[in-house]
């Protein structure tokens, strides 16, 4: 046994030392860490798209995807690589990155010349405005998202409601009725990144403060009022919401014990998945899209909470051929035809203008309608403030709900986080 052990040791060492050497040839390699992999709703079509691109450019360009399924780990790595000047050839980023900071510091390729050649016309009007630096686009807003409640009509009927509450007063009446029937009205979570609660908070903030709520940071009284409303919602969610994560919120919603669900449009594909059907009935068949209720005395009517769910940014390249290759690939991804397919397969929304496929599912169509009918839109809270707010949010919201701090204290806690990072 001892001999066998030492023999296998030696063998393993030899394998380990024989570091795989990657043959270098003229092929340009584009290194692309991506979270659109695995069971992500955009994964199947993205994989197809990248395979097709590699086939078309066989021998000259090859996109190599680095699969990242852990969002936080992907963020840690991307932040580290950018900081050390090793930015991947193409990155997917969301608003928790300091997009403007990186752009100003010249960490990314300037895409403006290419966009000016007509490519920019493929994108929605004004898509670049909020994120460009000195009129130049370094991070391309690609995937958009709107956040509006979806509700389960079957559960609503069980509770005795035939419509979605139009105001927040009515909303809490509904919650009471649901509670009386032992049903969770909403799914909240203060664990992990408190994503769902952050979205609800954004909706309430929008309903109270309206279009210009972010104009003076966290000064607007809407933030304090909204905190109280959010806290009240925790009386109408499942047990253990304080320690719950996104998996729990989604799990309860899929188990049909929550009446209302709030998440981005990319989640729509899951409503149509056979795996999530019960007794052969798709969840989507019981679902209806609703609008953010109106807050009486608030300024939010007609408004919508949105975000840039994903930017595409590329590393600066010294080699013009490689720059061409990277741009070619970004253009390929953002091609309206491809984006249309991507939207169809995932339900996600995009800044690229495209003709929606006639096969687009009903829920996605309704969400698009909501997006088109909105009078104005604001970002969600994570997107509107520096990263420190999204990091602090779970701690602040659990302190609020557990009575450690009051609504003012909740806002102060977020403000302190911003101050410390500034």
């Amino acid at each position: 046994m001892k001999k066998l052990l030492s023999l296998s040791l030696v063998l393993i060492m030899i394998i380990a030392l024989a570091v795989p050497a990657y043959a270098a040839n003229d092929e340009i390699i584009i290194n692309f860490p991506s979270v659109w992999v695995g069971t992500d709703s955009k994964a199947p079509y993205m994989e197809q798209l990248i395979e097709a691109f590699n086939a078309e450019n066989a021998g000259s360009i090859k996109v190599v995807v680095e699969e990242q399924t852990d969002y936080q780990a992907a963020r840690d790595k991307l932040r580290t690589t950018i900081t050390t000047g090793e930015t991947p050839d193409l990155c997917i980023m969301d608003t928790t990155y300091d997009i403007k900071g990186y752009s100003e510091a010249g960490k990314f390729m300037d895409l403006t010349p290419y966009l000016d050649e007509g490519w920019g016309d493929d994108f929605a009007e004004g898509a670049f405005d909020a994120w460009s630096v000195d009129g130049k686009v370094y991070a391309l807003p690609f995937e958009s998202a709107i956040f509006t409640p979806i509700y389960n009509t079957k559960i609503f009927a069980e509770i005795g409601w035939d419509h979605f509450p139009a105001t927040y007063d009515e909303f809490f009446q509904f919650c009471e009725d649901a509670k009386a029937k032992g049903i969770n009205a909403v799914g909240q979570m203060a664990g992990e990144n408190a994503w769902t609660s952050m979205l609800w908070y954004s909706l309430i903030v929008e309903a109270i403060g309206g279009k210009d709520v972010y104009a003076n940071g966290l000064e607007d009284p809407a933030f304090v009022q909204a905190a109280d409303v959010l806290k009240a919602m925790y009386d109408y969610t499942f047990d253990g919401a304080i320690s719950a994560g996104a998996g729990d919120v989604n799990g309860h919603w899929l188990a049909r014990d929550t009446a209302i669900y709030l998440n981005g449009p990319w989640w729509v594909a899951n409503l149509y998945k056979e795996d999530n059907a019960v007794d052969g009935v798709l969840l989507a068949d019981d679902c209806e899209v609703a609008l953010n209720p109106v807050y009486e005395g608030g300024k939010g009517e007609g408004g919508l909470v949105t975000t840039v769910q994903a930017f595409l940014a590329a590393a600066k390249q010294d080699d013009p051929a490689k720059e061409e290759a990277v741009v070619k690939f970004i253009k390929y991804i953002t091609d309206p035809q491809h984006v249309s397919e991507l939207a169809l397969s995932s339900g996600a929304m995009f800044f690229v203008k495209y003709d929606p496929s006639p096969e687009t599912n009903l829920i996605s169509q309704k969400l698009t309608e909501v997006a088109n009918n909105a009078d104005f839109s604001i970002l969600h809270v994570n997107g509107a403030f520096p990263t420190a707010v999204s990091t602090e949010f779970p701690a602040a919201v659990s302190a609020l709900v557990l009575g450690e701090v009051d609504a003012q204290g909740f806002v102060d806690q977020l403000q302190l986080a911003i101050d410390m990072a500034a």
Binding site: D76, P386, A399, L402, A421
Partner: protein, 303 residues
């Protein structure tokens, strides 16, 4: 042994690999951390010297203070509850009761299971709705105690702390190894004198492993307690209301905010606390250990 002239060259040859690795992977990076702890840096702009600002902010931050307290509790519990438990089990199993090999194997299982698997497992146990713990309480008529264990201020930190305490396998195996080196003649003599198992443990085993494996285990366990990160990150992410936060988790969150200055400052504070801990533990154990070591040596020579 005095260093002979002829040993000087081979000595440094032997030290070099470790010295180089320490220099490259610890000394230089830690100097970097110390320098950054006096800077304001977001990973994008040029770092700016801000004197003690980061440390001042840390000491004013409730979440950081809570993290320090949690870490100190953790280190103390690990060193002075978990390790003694491990010692008791090591003494018991080294008397070779029936099936001791099986138990030794089982106790070690948690060490080979990854932190994330354990965290997932314990999240499932602590769940408010379908969790094992609440179900156990309900089944023995203590249903009124059922709660969201990880989501209640008073229970979250104890819950995170307690489950780990009873995983004693690693320290137990280290101490068992040490106990087997104790010469049998001690026990034989004690038995003849009519000493019970319990007395033998108190007067022979514990003094003899005190300076060696017990000290090692207490030091290891406390350091692990101070460096605690993954368990908390996976189980609660520091929540609710930062009540389960630890220094490394706090630091990690500052890294997420690209607040490299405060992250580095908290790392520096952790290192300082750790050094204090190690020095104190050594002081506590140094006591009468000279005679213990002498006793042991004598025993070995006799064996």
């Amino acid at each position: 042994m005095k260093l002979e002239r002829s040993d000087r060259a081979p000595l440094w040859a032997f030290m070099t690999p470790a010295l180089v690795l320490m220099l490259v992977f610890f000394v230089l990076p830690v100097i970097y951390v110390i320098v950054i702890s006096f800077m304001k840096w977001n990973g994008i702009n040029t770092p700016a010297f801000v004197n003690l600002r980061n440390f001042m902010l840390l000491f004013r931050d409730k979440a950081f203070k809570r993290s320090v307290i949690n870490n100190v509790i953790w280190a103390l519990v690990a060193g002075f509850i978990q390790v003694p438990l491990a010692m008791i089990m090591a003494i018991i199993l080294s008397r070779k009761p029936k099936g001791w090999k099986f138990f030794r194997t089982v106790y070690f299982f948690p060490q080979v299971i990854s932190g994330i698997a354990l965290a997932t497992l314990w999240r499932a146990i602590y769940r408010a709705d379908t969790g094992l713990l609440n179900a156990l309480l309900n089944s023995v008529g203590l249903g009124h105690l059922a709660k969201d264990w990880l989501g209640t201020l008073s229970t979250a930190f104890p819950s995170v702390l307690i489950y780990w305490i009873f995983y004693v396998g690693y320290y137990m195996v280290i101490m068992m190894a040490d106990i087997t080196t104790i010469d049998d003649s001690y026990y034989e003599a004690a038995t003849i004198d009519g000493a019970t198992d319990f007395q033998q443990a108190i007067y022979i085993t514990i003094p003899l492993i005190r300076k060696t494996s017990l000290l090692t285990c207490v030091t290891l366990a406390s350091v692990m307690g101070l460096r605690q990160f993954e368990q908390v990150y996976m189980l609660t992410n520091g929540g609710p209301a930062n009540s389960t936060s630890t220094i490394v988790l706090y630091m990690y969150k500052k890294l997420q905010d690209a607040n490299y200055g405060m992250a580095s400052a908290s790392a520096v504070i952790l290192i300082i606390i750790g050094v204090v801990f190690i020095v104190c533990i050594r002081k506590i154990f140094e006591g009468r250990n000279e005679e213990a070591a002498a006793l042991k040596k004598a025993g070995r020579a006799a064996g």
